[in-house]
Subunit: 181 residues, 2 copies
Amino acid sequence: MADRPWTVRRSRHLLRSRWLSLRADDCTTATGADVSPYYVVEAPDFVHVLATDVDGLVVLVRQYRHGVGGPSLELPGGNADEGEADVVATAARELREETGFTGGRWEPVARLSPDPARYANRVHLVRATGVVPGPAEPEASEALEVVRVSPDAAIRLAVEGGIVNAVHVGLILLGLRADPA
Amino acid sequence: MADRPWTVRRSRHLLRSRWLSLRADDCTTATGADVSPYYVVEAPDFVHVLATDVDGLVVLVRQYRHGVGGPSLELPGGNADEGEADVVATAARELREETGFTGGRWEPVARLSPDPARYANRVHLVRATGVVPGPAEPEASEALEVVRVSPDAAIRLAVEGGIVNAVHVGLILLGLRADPA
C-alpha cells in the first residue's frame, strides 16, 4: 500500500519557466482519498560537487540566497543546463565557473531527491579530488566568495549549523564519509 | 559582496495555498544584475524527528511521494500547522499520527533550510529517544509503512542510497552523529 502510486486524474501547469515550473495534479491516493490539487515543483536536476584541491582542502562557496533571504555556505554547483545529461561534466562546468578550480579526478557519488514530496527533479553529488586553482567565470547575477576548509572543518560546519542548506549537510557528510583519504 | 541581499523592486504571488505558495520577485542583485522574476516557494516549516524507541531502533516511515513519483523511506514528520511554533510539539504530533510512537525524551537538534535558493521556509530536526509504540492515526490521504532499523542500519541506508530524500540523508547522519548512545 505504502508503495502504490497515486492516480492522476488531471494535470496542468500554473507556471512554466526555464528554472522553475509549477504543476497542479488532481490525484486519488492509494487509500482512495482525493488530493486536488497537489502541487509539484519541476526544475532542472541540481548537480553539486564535493571537491578537494591539491592541498586537500574542501572548496565551498558563500553567496546570498534569495529564498531564505540571507547568505549560505554551500558546495559549488547548480542546475543542469538543458540537454546536459553528464552530471560529471555539469559539476566540472559549475566548479570552474563558480570557483575557477579545474582538473583532478572525478566520480559521481549519489543521485537523490531534493524533496520527494514536492520536487520532481533529482540532486546529484559528484566527488572531485586534486583540483587546481584558476580564474573563475561567475554569471553576472552571481556574487560568490570561495572558501576553502579542511575536511574536518567542513564536517564541523555541517554538524554545527555553519551549513544551513539541509541537502548540503547531507552531501558533505556523505561525500566526506566516502573519502578514501 | 557575497552576503549583500538583493533588492526587491516588485513582489507578487502567482499562487497562495495552504501547503505551497509561489512568489515572483523582481530583483536587482548586489552585482547590479536584473533577475526578474525570481520565483520563491513558500511553505509552512517542515519538522522531522529522529526517534529511537525503547529497543534503541530508529523509527522510519515508507510512503509514496508524488513529487518524485515513487516510494521514499524517510524520517517521520511533516508541515507545522498554522500557529504551531513549538517544533518539539509538532514533531511529537507527527510521530504519534504517523507511527503511533509517543513518550520518551525530546530535544530540538537543528534548524536548517530545505533549499536556501528557492524555499523561504525552514526544516527542523528534533531528536527523541525511548519512544514507546501505540496506535497510529494517519490522515486519510496517507498510506504509511513504519520501518524500524538499528542506528547502524539507518546510517547505511543514508550512505548507500536507501534514503532518496537528500534532506533526510543529512538529518539522519546529523542526528545519529549527535547520538549520546
